[in-house]
């Protein structure tokens, strides 16, 4: 495949994910406007931070009266999982120059990670990743703008129902692989249990990181992979 074809494949693969990201962007914008941020600030946050969960948490903390340092620290902790996700992604695109990776890594999010790492290894190229994140980033920014515009007259019924979108998307990405591989199902259950337990003695963002690492580590010993390629 030419570079252009790889890029376009990335764009095409990311299209269904628009539906997972858009509702979250709208939900963030509505929350942010209601918590007193201006429209410019709301949109600027989406452009510069590009990390949904932490943005929603930040406006929530602002409403609760939290100060500058706690919010920045919470953002750092919550987004620290990008280190693990970035490692998985960068491991597949190591050959490209550092400055290109320094740009592409801005697009490391839960969504781009989820799609990229569940794509067959031969297709997960730098241009493919660039295609993916063009879609996820523009969806996030446009969704935020749309949410700001709609926040006045969007019924609460709708805005409250949007919170499930991101979760549904992850479920939709994992389940087809679990169906094909029972041991992967065990890995999912094990990780969920680990995460519940870790939540008892650490903040949930750290619990997610620990459960991810321990779950995958244990999985190395009992998950049998059908092929060398990651399942798609």
């Amino acid at each position: 495949m030419t570079n252009k074809e790889q890029y376009l494949l990335g764009v095409k693969t990311a299209l269904p994910v628009i539906l997972g990201i858009l509702p979250v962007a709208v939900a963030f914008a509505v929350l942010s406007e209601h918590s007193g941020l201006t429209t410019v600030e709301t949109i600027l946050m989406s452009i510069l931070v590009f990390a949904g969960a932490s943005q929603i948490m930040a406006v929530g903390m602002l409403v609760a009266g939290a100060g500058f340092l706690p919010i920045v620290l919470a953002t750092f902790i919550l987004n620290f999982r990008h280190v693990i996700m970035g490692t998985c992604i960068m491991n597949r695109i190591l050959t490209i120059p550092m400055w290109k990776k320094a740009i592409l890594c801005f697009g490391v999010t839960d969504e781009s990670f989820a799609i990229f790492t569940t794509t067959a290894e031969k297709n997960s190229t730098p241009y493919y990743f660039a295609g993916l994140i063009s879609v996820t980033y523009s969806t996030w920014v446009i969704g935020t703008i749309a949410g700001c515009a709609a926040s006045q007259f969007l019924p609460t019924l709708v805005s409250r129902s949007l919170g499930i979108a991101l979760f549904a998307m992850f479920i939709g990405l994992v389940i087809p692989n679990v169906k094909k591989n029972t041991q992967l199902g065990f890995l999912v259950i094990l990780t969920a249990l680990l995460n519940v337990n870790f939540n008892y003695f650490m903040p949930s963002s750290w619990a997610i990181i620990c459960a991810t690492l321990v779950g995958a580590f244990l999985g190395v010993f009992f998950v049998k992979e059908d092929q060398e390629e990651a399942p798609e």
Binding site: V49, F68, I164, I175
Partner: protein, 99 residues
């Protein structure tokens, strides 16, 4: 102005987490176990992101997250595309809020 500085600081620490692997990951590993570990991380990560967090989508109404998640599992189990999985979960939650 203070919000603007906050946004910049958030952007900075978020980018820091993203750029660390770029700075510290050198050669591609060819140890099969490490490779396998990295291939399994997507599944453990997505699981950890969903459960138990999904139960607290609406802190006052836990059934919202639970039913929404079960709907998503059911729809993806019958091979629905991501689009319909997401729409289905949103619709059932709207229905639950409506009644």
């Amino acid at each position: 102005m203070k919000i603007f500085v906050l946004i910049l600081a958030m952007a900075l620490v978020t980018y820091l987490g993203r750029v660390l692997p770029v700075l510290f990951l050198g050669q591609k590993t060819n140890r099969p176990r490490v490779e396998k570990f990295l291939r399994l991380i997507p599944y453990s990560a997505m699981t950890a992101l969903v459960f138990p967090g999904v139960l607290y989508v609406d802190k006052d109404f836990m059934a919202i997250g639970l039913v929404g998640a079960l709907m998503a599992v059911a729809l993806s189990w019958i091979n629905m595309s991501i689009t319909f999985v997401v729409i289905g979960a949103i619709l059932i939650n709207m229905l639950m809020y409506a009644i």
